[in-house]
Symmetry: C2
Subunit: 235 residues, 2 copies
């Protein structure tokens, strides 16, 4: 099994690091990559620890509900994860949901809210359009580099101009939205606009993805309106 590409590269100074906790988290991340569940030995090889270690970790994780074993005795992520996720930026989750749904339905495309995390962009909220024949399956929590995809470009366009930035960023800064095609997913078309809260910088963006290019002018207007709506809701 390929290892998880860790988005948070550890500095060479391994000063503050807890090995046991690290192992436990790697168990969780390994399970996250295999939604159908993993068996004990598969897990052990996946995280590179001996079975007995994983066994004890699973005991603690299970007791906290972060891991549960399905009917086939395979281990999978437990519902306590959802409990935790409900506490991640609850303001955004509640405030942005309704505008995103309207955006998704009006454009007929999958709408999403992306947040900056280090030098990567994470899709924090994804809403698929209700009545659409084929929509893009955009998984919650997807990560890409900021420099790729309309969502990241939109966030970068909200910053002060930099010398060697991509031309798309300058263009997005002028127009107020960014467009990308095939950068994240083959053949996918995306359009996004940065969210500007009343104070500070949210380092966030709203956007839509579709399987084929949409009416850029029309969609851009809707996306920017949604971004403005959400921005006004955020302090």
């Amino acid at each position: 099994m390929a290892d998880v590409a860790d988005p948070h590269p550890e500095p060479e100074r391994a000063t503050a690091g807890s090995k046991t906790l690290d192992n436990g988290i790697r168990v969780l991340k390994a399970l996250a990559q295999h939604p159908r569940g993993l068996t004990m030995t598969e897990l052990a090889t996946a995280v590179g620890a001996h079975r007995t270690v994983v066994y004890r970790l699973l005991g603690t994780l299970t007791r906290h509900g972060l891991v549960a074993q399905g009917p086939d005795n395979r281990y999978q992520l437990g519902l306590a994860i959802i409990e935790l996720s409900g506490a991640v930026r609850p303001d955004l989750q509640t405030l942005a949901q309704a505008p995103l749904r309207e955006l998704a339905d009006e454009t007929g495309a999958t709408a999403f809210l992306s947040l900056l995390d280090g030098d990567e962009v994470v899709s924090t909220l994804v809403v698929e359009p209700l009545h659409a024949d084929a929509h893009v399956a955009y998984r919650l929590g997807t990560r890409h580099p900021v420099t790729l995809g309309s969502a990241g470009l939109a966030i970068l366009s909200a910053r002060a101009p930099r010398a060697n930035e991509r031309g798309e960023i300058s263009l997005a800064r002028e127009r107020g939205y960014s467009v990308s095609q095939g950068e994240i997913q083959r053949g996918a078309w995306g359009l996004a606009a940065p969210i500007r809260p009343r104070s500070g910088d949210a380092e966030a963006s709203v956007g839509v993805v579709a399987l084929q290019p949409l009416d850029e002018v029309h969609v851009a207007r809707l996306v920017m309106d949604t971004a403005e709506t959400i921005g006004k809701l955020i302090p």
Copy 2:
């Protein structure tokens, strides 16, 4: 430590437990209860560990993106949590979203999907109605005992009848839905129906919550239809 001659094999086992991992998880859960963030010393007292211990744990958690510190240096849950939550029953998350949204809009009430976890019920998916003056703020990942609230009663009503079960359960089994009032939240009214997948038992339910009782016959029909729709989507 003094228990030597144990006449009965102890019912509860403190078998496999990892203290460090346990501390780390308790940090996460403490942060989940304080969405506005916690400072280092607050965290230390919250989990009952010394600051230096929490410090090292936070290092590992931050490196994995599970914890991030806001602009005021307070620690809060990070976006990697959302990454993990996207892998918890992804099938349910994608399949049930659209039906729940229709249910929420048609009834004007908050719609939710609840899953059984041990002897508790967890709200796994919550959708608030788009155009509603006042809706119930139902937090994702909320837990209650199965025996309380319409969602839990609905799940119990899908099981085989038991001798001393609450009358509401028998009633729900006859009617196909359950109603409760004020059991979870003061003054809140809830109606739920069990989800019956094509095979096995999902141990799940769909429901709505409102601040005041709604038209029971009408809403019950909509909720049961939604439960059936979702049930057909699940293998």
